[in-house]
């Protein structure tokens, strides 16, 4: 920590600009609304073609699964959770960064979030949709999912309130609802702007309905802003609780490697970590494709890289605590599991995971790397790989060696497993692409609010009081 910093002088007495080049308010509207008002480029259709193909692969794999049953997957006893739950945890985690950026950074008044919040929130919603799919198809007969809700039936028996799987249903559906509302509430003023911009009659009608007749009245803004804070305040503990409850799926059991008290915060940190990886991946592409470099600035990517580094350290802390406590506990089975993860059948996965999640992000300590988009992009992809593997390792290694050696069974994924995984990525990116073309991907309102001269320099009301 020495010579590198002295090359440049940072002036701490001035706030760094949030929007580069000081554009006019109209120009902000124009460039944010441009993707939905112009004909998409060939590149866009090519991208959509790729994602739709991936989605189709997923649909075919799902068709196979439903027609022939869950036997098409690699799942076995004892590894009954396999890919489906791995993907579920992975996608839920991706969603968490969105809420973190939109709600937590909002509460911390990190105004740089404005440029990326909308996109991250949309990603949350799409990711939760992908995530919700997996427990559903893991049922094998998804139409029986109704039984997880506390509805009175002729059996007279109610759902098991002690089951973390039931908690999951409540948590994920609450999370989806609240994220959707948060996103929508943020969209309303922008939809109104789109309504007033568009000349197409059908589009205008749709925007009219969606914006509900918003009219930028300050008497409305007052309540609106308050509700936004409240929703952020609710979403912040919610995001902690959702992944904590996902971690309870594992941690309330007494399996070695699963039953450990650090799981709730560890999963939350991991979720934010993977989510930031995904947001970085997508944003780096989006700012390039839609020419939004002056709104999503290098400064944003730098800050996101720093947050990624921070959560990577938290994940690393959990990686350290787990084996230490497994040893400290004196429980031979716990300790055996730790050694088996490092050296057993899935050792390669474990070491790739550790490399991607702990060692590679350490590069982000260096400013040069944080400001190199190519390297940043590669790191963000590696984080995605690493975090997916983390869930895979947690699920498979704890399960495949059951307590009785006669019950041991190696998990080998099938083509159908991979098909569904690819399909979920296809679904996610298809939705992202459609969203990027149809709605303002950046909050015009909020960006306008952080331009220079957006607010009077002194409080007039304060003098009156």
């Amino acid at each position: 920590m020495s010579e590198v910093s002295y090359g440049e002088v940072i002036d701490y007495s001035k706030a760094p600009p949030l929007v580069e080049g000081n554009p006019t308010l109209s120009k902000i509207d124009d460039s944010i609304a441009a993707p939905s008002e112009t004909r998409p480029s060939k590149k866009y259709f090519m991208a959509l073609g790729v994602t739709l193909t991936m989605l189709l692969i997923g649909v075919i794999a799902l068709g196979y699964t439903f027609y022939y049953g869950i036997g098409m997957w690699g799942n076995n006893i004892p590894v009954a959770w396999g890919f489906a739950i791995t993907n579920f945890v992975f996608w839920i985690g991706i969603g968490h960064a969105g809420t973190l950026i939109s709600a937590v950074l909002f509460l911390f008044r990190q105004r740089w979030r404005t440029a990326i919040a909308r996109f991250a929130e949309a990603m949350t919603i799409f990711a939760v949709m992908c995530a919700g799919l997996f427990p559903l198809i893991h049922l094998g007969r998804p139409w029986y999912a109704a039984f997880v809700f506390p509805i009175p039936t002729q059996h007279g028996v109610w759902i098991n309130w002690n089951s973390p799987l039931v908690w999951d249903v409540f948590a994920v559906s609450t999370y989806f609802t609240v994220s959707l509302m948060f996103w929508y509430i943020g969209l309303i003023p922008d939809l109104a702007t789109m309504r007033d911009r568009t000349t197409n009659k059908i589009k205008k009608a749709v925007y009219h309905v969606l914006s509900m007749g918003w009219r930028f009245s300050n008497r409305h803004w007052q309540h609106y802003e308050k509700v936004y804070v409240i929703l952020a305040g609710l979403a912040t503990p919610l995001v902690l609780s959702v992944h904590s409850i996902v971690s309870f799926d594992f941690a309330v059991s007494i399996l070695p490697g699963w039953h450990t008290t650090i799981f709730p915060p560890y999963f939350v940190a991991g979720a934010i970590f993977s989510g930031f990886g995904m947001v970085l991946t997508v944003l780096i592409i989006v700012r390039k494709v839609f020419n939004l470099e002056y709104i999503i600035t290098m400064n944003h990517l730098d800050k996101m890289a720093k947050v990624t580094l921070l959560v990577s350290m938290m994940v690393a802390y959990a990686y350290l605590m787990e084996p230490f406590m497994a040893w400290y506990s004196g429980d031979p089975i716990d300790w055996y599991l730790v050694l088996m993860r490092m050296t057993g059948h899935y050792a390669l996965g474990f070491w790739v995971m550790t490399t991607c999640n702990v060692f590679v992000p350490q590069l982000l300590w260096f400013k040069k790397i944080r400001h190199n988009i190519g390297v940043l992009f590669v790191i963000s992809l590696l984080i995605n790989v690493g975090m997916w593997l983390e869930r895979y390792i947690i699920i498979v290694t704890s399960l495949y060696k059951d307590f009785l050696p006669s019950a041991w069974h190696i998990f080998v994924p099938t083509l159908t497993d991979f098909g569904i995984l690819i399909g979920s990525f296809g679904l996610f990116f298809t939705l992202v692409l459609l969203f990027a073309r149809s709605l303002p991907v950046i909050s015009m309102t909020e960006v306008k609010g952080v331009t220079e001269g957006a607010h009077p320099t002194h409080h007039i009301g304060a003098e009156h009081e």
């Binding site: 920590m1 910093s5 002295y6 002088v9 940072i10 002036d11 701490y12 007495s13 001035k14 706030a15 509460l107 008044r109 002690n162 503990p237 902690l240 609780s241 904590s244 309870f248 941690a251 309330v252 059991s253 007494i254 039953h259 450990t260 008290t261 650090i262 799981f263 709730p264 915060p265 921070l310 350290m313 802390y317 959990a318 605590m321 787990e322 406590m325 040893w327 400290y328 506990s329 004196g330 429980d331 300590w365 320099t457 002194h458 409080h459």
Partner: protein, 395 residues
């Protein structure tokens, strides 16, 4: 924009009452501690352990807040940083506080008894970690590392008052970024050594995070108490606005919730898992008079402050903030009592001279050190380039 004038006469002039109160409490604390050792040395050892944990958590928690301000380039808190720096001033004295305990380790720590190794196979596994030489190395190492970072960060901050060199901020940002992982590891070692190993068979991976949540909450409460008190009495060198109060209140609120989240996660998972080696921590705490203490801890450190701070006007009200800060410090003391004392007496929650000594001595040390540091230093970092921006902060 109007630049706020810094009142130079208040910069180095803490009201005399702080020092007086600090010394009174300190002397009373020392007297009571000696008394408690005369009455019941074992009880007193546990009492002094609580004192060490309280002072250490407030001290290192304050240093953590200082570091967070640098790392996150937070602006609003620049004017409020010094009180936290002064609070962190207790760090060099921790080793003195730990000394009598290190001499009485056989009383406090069950794992120091060789007989345990013969009967408990798990203790044989732990022996490479839980042994007296390694324990001493860790304790000294942890305190030394804290002191090192305290010394480096505070020195830069202080030098900036005169030199106004912006590079010092850059230096401190880097130092603080380096401090964060060190802090995580050292606080983990500290909490395992001084709290978890009191029940040598018990373990919990989240435990250090739990200690962390209590630590930063207590540090924030102590800082808030002093800052709001001074500002309301018009003894703070700059004028703070309700917006600054709001942020202090919001951090208190956030960490109250965080504390509850961590405690609940640990409790629920061990309750649900129902394994002997985990429940042995909670079973004594859920029966007899300890059950009352457990409920009191949950109420004191979560439910009551939660509702006291939930609304926005509450977070901005100086009266409410002072009350909640005092309340939370008491809750933190109760929390430490809840962690430590069931090891001394697992049947009944005792309250005696040792507990009185714990409260007096803890507050005495922190206040005396604070008053001493405040005398020789500026109450706001006058040379910090972020200071004016921080004063203009509004929500």
């Amino acid at each position: 924009m109007t630049t706020q004038q810094i009142s130079t006469e208040k910069l180095r002039k803490l009201p005399e009452s702080y020092g007086k109160l600090g010394w009174t409490l300190l002397i009373a604390g020392v007297v009571f501690t000696i008394l408690s050792f005369v009455i019941d040395a074992k009880h007193a050892s546990f009492g002094l352990t609580m004192t060490l944990v309280f002072v250490a958590t407030v001290g290192v928690g304050s240093l953590f807040w200082v570091g967070v301000e640098y790392v996150s380039s937070a602006v609003w808190s620049t004017a409020l940083r010094r009180p936290f720096e002064f609070l962190a001033g207790v760090i060099p004295f921790l080793i003195i506080l730990a000394l009598p305990l290190l001499l009485r380790m056989r009383t406090i720590f069950e794992w120091t008894h060789k007989s345990l190794l013969a009967t408990d196979p798990a203790m044989v596994v732990k022996a490479p970690y839980l042994n007296i030489p390694f324990f001493l190395i860790r304790t000294v190492g942890v305190f030394a590392l804290w002191w090192l970072f305290y010394y480096l960060i505070i020195r830069n901050s202080r030098n900036q008052d005169t030199s106004r060199d912006q590079q010092l901020t850059t230096k401190n940002v880097k130092l603080s970024a380096g401090f964060m992982p060190v802090f995580a590891v050292t606080l983990t070692l500290f909490s395992i050594d001084w709290l978890m190993s009191l029940t040598p068979n018990w373990f919990s991976t989240i435990f250090a995070v739990y200690v962390f949540s209590g630590s930063v909450l207590a540090a924030m409460a102590f800082g808030t108490l002093i800052i709001v008190k001074l500002n309301e009495k018009d003894r703070f060198p700059v004028k703070l606005t309700p917006d600054h109060y709001y942020n202090l209140g919001a951090f208190l609120f956030a960490f109250v919730v965080f504390w509850a989240y961590i405690q609940f996660s640990q409790f629920m998972l061990q309750w649900y898992g129902n394994l002997r080696e985990e429940t042995l921590y909670y079973i004594p705490r859920m029966h007899g008079s300890w059950a009352v203490v457990s409920i009191a801890v949950a109420l004191a450190e979560f439910l009551i402050p939660f509702f006291l701070l939930v609304t926005k006007p509450a977070k901005m009200s100086p009266k409410r903030l002072v009350f909640v800060s005092v309340w939370l410090l008491a809750a933190h003391a109760l929390d430490i009592y809840w962690m430590v004392m069931p090891v001394y007496d697992s049947k009944t929650a005792v309250f005696g001279v040792s507990e009185v000594a714990f409260i007096l001595l803890s507050l005495g040390i922190i206040l005396t050190v604070f008053a001493y540091k405040a005398k020789g230093n500026n109450m706001v970092p006058v040379g910090d380039p972020k200071l004016q921006r921080g004063l203009e902060f509004h929500i």
